[in-house]
Symmetry: C2
């Protein structure tokens, strides 16, 4: 498994009511190598600058670079084993403003820092709330490689219906 470092597998799990704006969460780290970059690209993003060092050197990336969707998937892997642990799992409804700011290269070691932006009750599902979380994925030089905001569906501690 590529994820190393502090994770929170035995830690508390969060209900909707436990999340508050400004709370911050961290993840372990994920080491990226050329074989992973090429394998993901072959499956999901087979373009020369993600597959071949020579072609990549001549591209706008100036060297082999991970697919942005690979970076997003690695970010999810880090989140699932990190400190954010909603009681019903990490259930994304949507993503806002995903930005790829720098290439991810072979040898990079990624980690994610997250901050709760806001929360509101779900309009369509009475037992749930919606929590928006900003995620920043960084490399070993503390350079931001990707940012996005996830919109999660999180179970409420007490049902809001008449039987609650």
């Amino acid at each position: 498994v590529a994820v190393t470092g502090p994770t929170n597998s035995g830690a508390r799990r969060y209900y909707f009511e436990d999340f508050a704006p400004g709370q911050r969460f961290r993840t372990g780290t994920y080491a990226v190598d050329a074989a992973q970059i090429v394998a993901f690209a072959r499956a999901f993003d087979p373009q020369p600058f993600h597959l071949d060092e020579t072609a990549a050197a001549k591209s706008i990336f100036e060297g082999l670079a991970a697919s942005g969707w690979h970076t997003a998937a690695i970010t999810m892997r880090l989140l699932v084993t990190g400190e954010i642990r909603p009681v019903n799992g990490i259930l994304g409804l949507a993503v806002e403003e995903l930005r790829w700011l720098r290439p991810v290269r072979p040898g990079d070691v990624l980690r994610v820092e997250s901050e709760i932006l806001d929360r509101r009750p779900s309009r369509s599902r009475p037992g749930y709330g919606v929590v928006r979380i900003r995620h920043t994925t960084s490399n070993q030089r503390d350079e931001t490689v990707q940012t996005f905001t996830s919109v999660l569906l999180v179970e409420r501690r007490a049902p809001s219906g008449p039987a609650g």
Copy 2:
């Protein structure tokens, strides 16, 4: 390879100037099975509802469902072999408003329809422009499973600098 149906490998390639709002593009299809769903989840989103049919049946998904990031990656795979062919490849700077609207299940067959929203010259890269494209991923019942808008960097036909 999971992608089948009409693709455009021999077709024209588009410069920035060739894209215009309202143009529509299609892709081939991609058949999703349980083994793919579980393999992607093991690597990038190891949560019970993406890994195990029994656990998934008891979850909010009411059955095995693909990770949303898997659906996004499959969408990219379809786009790369589809009708949108920028001369410099599909180079995403950002994604806006990614929404997962329905679960993707084993047996689903996905395809993507895309529409050009707008374009503008790049502020930071004189030889490039920025094109925004809306992508709708659907299943074999014509139900929308995911939508997002991609922000692509596309090479211009003629440099805008003094030497152009």
